[in-house]
Symmetry: C2
Subunit: 127 residues, 2 copies
DNA sequence: ACTAGTGTTCTATCTCTCTAGTACAGCGAG
DNA sequence: CTCGCTGTACTAGAGAGATAGAACACTAGT
């Protein structure tokens, strides 16, 4: 359960958190019945206000991905994994779609765009 | 000179505007000596407040990409094209890098990521 | 001169995100 | 019961982004 938050990349922090919880469930590193880090623990871990984490969790409860056990914690529901896996595809595609559209608008050819993506992935492997 | 603005995709509008001006110059659809749309014209065209457009232009003047001809308009400078072309590579790579990192974090394999990108580009051709 | 267009600058206000601080309610171990 | 942990709820404020509206200075065309 590791989180990586960028406070100033445009995406609200509470959204980055809920996104990454979904991704962790989709990737099966968080399974139904398991508990998510407590609000205060995660907040101090990623150096963020507890209210921000709380909002992320509240959203996830609203989507039926987490279930609140008052006084104990928040648990991943049984229906979460399939839900999160389709969400993952949607969220990632959505973001790529925006960036690709922007790249095309900038006058880059589709060949050049693919080239950039391949190179960035290669660099991420080397690093 | 066409602009496409997404008011709620995280990137501030004034930044989307200055970005797209840079891209238009990099793609040579805007050349040195040409004038950019007037503040009020562009503002009404993309349904945005004139102050927002003005801020974008102000930033571009600050970067030496536009030059102000008071009472007439804003002109693309001679040094703009090479500047914008290197900017383009940097800006696009930066965005892709973020999204790729997020996709990897979500548990998708590099193969799957490349597959998604190829598919989205293919769809953009069909459309 | 007048007018219409240009960029520029200013204040006020709104919303969203995030922080800060406080308080309350439920659970479990000692 | 008490203590420490959990989630939840609320108010208040700072900051960024955007809007609204007004005003000023300049240029060109008539």
């Amino acid at each position: 359960m590791f989180f990586q938050i960028n406070p100033h990349n445009g995406v609200p922090i509470y959204e980055q958190i809920s996104r990454q919880v979904k991704f962790a469930i989709a990737a099966k590193s968080l399974r139904p019945g398991e508990r998510v880090p407590s609000v205060r623990e995660l907040a101090s871990h990623i150096a963020v206000n507890p209210n921000t984490v709380s909002k992320a969790y509240r959203d996830l409860v609203g989507e039926g991905i987490l279930e609140s056990l008052r006084g104990e914690g928040l648990e991943v529901t049984a229906k979460a994994p399939p839900h999160c896996q389709s969400e993952r595809a949607r969220l990632v595609s959505e973001r790529f779609s925006q960036v690709i559209q922007e790249a095309q608008q900038s006058g880059l050819t589709n060949r050049e765009i693919k080239q950039i993506v391949h190179q960035l992935i290669q660099e991420s492997i080397d690093a």
